[in-house]
């Protein structure tokens, strides 16, 4: 009989497998803030823009929601993470900015500096 510690390690491996199965290893991972504060600032609409783009054929993107990172005055926030590159953190993302992030960053690899958080 495996110990709880062995069991949890197995569960962890399975969880990682499931996440990878959902496309975690895609070139770009996109995280949209979806805590109460972010939603109040309009992040649901932003999420929908990304969802729609994926349903319309945007590929190689892993989309996830996330909790509050803590940047209240810059919400909604969106991160684009690529292996081997610095994670890009966008602030005050609205529908229009989300669309631009899709066109310029996700499709063409351009980091839109003026919207990033430092």
């Amino acid at each position: 009989m495996p110990t709880p510690l062995e069991l949890i390690r197995k569960k962890r491996a399975e969880a990682v497998g499931r996440i990878v199965g959902k496309g975690y290893l895609s070139t770009k991972r996109v995280y949209v803030g979806m805590a109460t504060c972010e939603i109040a600032a309009g992040s649901k609409e932003v999420m929908e823009v990304f969802q729609k783009a994926i349903s319309r054929g945007l590929t190689d993107v892993y989309l996830s929601q996330k909790g509050c990172a803590g940047r209240c005055n810059l919400e909604p926030t969106v991160e684009v993470i690529e292996a081997g590159k610095s994670p890009v953190k966008y602030g005050k993302v609205d529908k229009e900015r989300a669309q631009q992030i899709i066109e310029r960053h996700l499709k063409n690899g351009e980091v839109i500096q003026e919207w990033t958080i430092d």
């Binding site: 969880a15 996830s64 909790g67 803590g70 209240c72 610095s86 994670p87």
Partner: protein
């Protein structure tokens, strides 16, 4: 090279002592030599918690941690890693610690660089509704470790040794609380998570649950194992629907994975969690009132002792901790008490989450090591006061805390230092106040809140806060009398001493601390009927200055016809008629109306 690197050098005391600042200088020189200054940015961080391996340097992207660095290592890092993109295995520390995971994504941003994240380690980097995300970051491994390798006594000893103290505000040693509850013979026992966050402007617990609910669930399960309880309750206020949804889902998912319920992970330990909603009464954050509320009675406190660890929910021994306290537990179990206690001050270990708000450039949810100074929080993390205004005070601890003026800015925060300065740690509200705010008005705001939320059980709190509020209202309306300040002090001290629970015992704090630190503002209000910040409307007079062009806009805006004057001539305000509504002030396009 195409990639831009960001390097974070640990600027904690231990790393500085080991020469980190010299290394930073050297790094800058080397970058300059290679012409990389524009492509590599260097940031300093607060203590990264790896003191035994210092000096520490983190290279992003990749979160490569270099430790034990000497001066001769710097050229190699620049040449190999930054120029050729080859991380140096010899210098890299392989650490899969739980804390600071957040920094793998956010570590290079200035705002986050000064922080240290234990409680909020996963907040903002994982999908809070996915148990897979949590499991993949060693989720529930602490629970498994406790069940597999540790006896309940060992778990308690670990928490005690870590020096963790209650994050709800009072700072009672958590391990001791666990020990007392574990020592009780009665059965069943209960575990409660206090998520009844009610301070105005505070949102630490909400964000923690919304961002990483499983941490709280795991912490509670470990607590249940340690004290021998099989039932846990999350008491959360109904105003937090998203937090409720997420923690409910977390509990269901954990159950589906065999991480809650009977025979957790095939062991003999069984533990279940259910949720109780609070109706939003501030007093229900007090543990005995909270317990009454769960039992179905009116949310009112009772005298202690007996403490809930002896007589708690339904008369049984009960372990009750705050959200933030619970979220620390998995880290203590997995990363160890020995590591945990390296963070913080002599008396207060670990980190504290604050909701930074008010007149500060970067408002937000922050987590910093105990011992960080108020100045570091407000200026380094918070980015200072906006619009070039002058700092006046910082309010900590919400309606139970106090306002600290400039001379306390270099106070290294922990439970003792804040109390000594005349405020409290509290649950983590932190409001920055600039010169445009009136301290009497702020004291009144907080007292209005506590007076409203007083449950009415004991007289000092019920009647005393009301009388204090009467006096404060009088002062802000220009009807203050000599002796009012002394009366407020006497009443305040009486309420503090004679009230039954923490609400009453701390309710006068905002008033007493502002009297202590800003007495001259009270005196001005009373003696000169003057509010220097121009906030107390009834003490203001509006006057039209020579800038007036006689456009008549203010005359038309005035709802009581107090302004007279003919076209193109300077207008005047009849002070007897003026109701001080500010309509003229807001209407004037020529900046010709002054508040005096």
């Amino acid at each position: 090279m195409t990639a831009t690197y960001r390097i974070i050098v640990c600027d904690g005391t231990s790393c500085i002592n080991k020469g980190s600042r010299k290394l930073t200088d050297l790094l800058r020189q080397e970058l300059d030599k290679h012409g990389l200054t524009d492509q590599v940015t260097i940031g300093l961080s607060g203590c990264l918690g790896m003191c035994d391996k210092g000096p520490i340097m983190v290279v992003n992207p990749g979160y490569t941690i270099y430790g034990g660095l000497t001066e001769s290592d710097i050229p190699e890092i620049v040449e190999e890693h930054l120029v050729h993109g080859r991380a140096i295995a010899r210098l890299a520390i392989q650490e899969d610690h739980l804390y600071n995971r957040f920094f793998r994504v956010f570590g290079d941003a200035k705002f986050f660089g000064h922080q240290m994240r234990i409680t909020l380690r996963n907040c903002g980097i994982i999908d809070p509704e996915s148990i897979d995300d949590y499991l993949s970051l060693r989720g529930y491994e602490a629970l498994a470790k406790a069940i597999t390798e540790m006896t309940p006594q060992e778990v308690i000893a670990e928490v005690q040794q870590a020096g963790l103290r209650g994050r709800g505000g009072a700072g009672f040693p958590t391990g001791l609380k666990w020990k007392f509850t574990a020592a009780e013979k009665a059965s069943p026992k209960y575990v409660i998570c206090n998520a009844d966050e009610g301070d105005p402007g505070a949102f630490m617990d909400r964000s923690a649950i919304e961002g990483d609910p499983h941490t709280v669930v795991e912490g509670m399960a470990i607590g249940g194992y340690a004290i021998g309880a099989s039932k846990g309750i999350v008491y959360i206020r109904a105003e937090y629907p998203l937090a409720i949804k997420r923690i409910t889902k977390a509990i269901e998912d954990a159950r589906a994975h065999g991480l809650l319920g009977d025979h957790i992970l095939g062991s003999d330990f069984s533990f279940n969690i259910e949720i109780r909603l609070g109706a939003g009464a501030f007093v229900c954050g007090e543990e005995t009132a909270l317990i009454h509320s769960i039992e179905g009675s009116r949310g009112m406190p009772r005298p202690r002792p007996p403490y809930p660890s002896v007589v708690g929910l339904f008369g049984q021994p009960t372990l009750i901790n705050n959200v933030e306290t619970w979220a620390n537990i998995p880290v203590i179990v997995l990363d160890g008490a020995n590591w945990f206690k390296t963070v913080g001050t002599e008396t207060s270990k670990g980190t504290k989450v604050f909701a930074l708000a008010g007149k500060v450039v970067n408002t937000g949810l922050i987590e910093v090591p105990m011992g960080t100074t108020l100045r570091q929080i407000i200026y380094d993390v918070g980015g200072g006061i906006p619009f070039g205004k002058k700092f006046k005070a910082v309010q900590t601890g919400g309606p139970s805390g106090g306002c600290l003026p400039e001379q306390y800015l270099d106070t290294a925060i922990d439970y003792e230092s804040l109390a000594k300065a005349g405020s409290i740690m509290g649950s983590g509200g932190m409001i920055v106040i600039d010169e445009d705010s009136c301290m009497v008005d702020i004291a009144k705001f907080f007292l209005e809140f506590t007076q409203n939320e007083s449950c009415g059980k004991c007289t000092p709190c019920r009647e005393g806060t009301k009388r204090m509020l009467d006096i404060l209202t009088r002062i802000t309306e220009g009807r203050g009398k000599p002796g009012d300040i002394e009366k407020l002090e006497r009443l305040g001290n009486m309420i503090k001493k004679a009230s039954l629970c923490g609400l009453g015992q701390s309710a006068p704090n905002p008033v007493l601390s502002t009297i202590k630190n800003f007495r001259e503002e009270y005196e001005e209000h009373i003696n000169e009927k003057h509010c220097r910040a121009g906030v107390c409307k009834k003490l203001l007079t509006y006057q039209i200055t020579e800038k007036c062009v006689g456009c008549g806009a203010c005359r038309k805006a005035c709802p009581v016809n107090a302004i007279s004057g003919s076209a193109k001539n300077m207008h005047v305000i009849d002070q007897d008629k003026c109701i001080k509504c500010s309509a003229c002030f807001n209407t004037c396009k020529f900046d010709a109306i002054a508040k005096v």
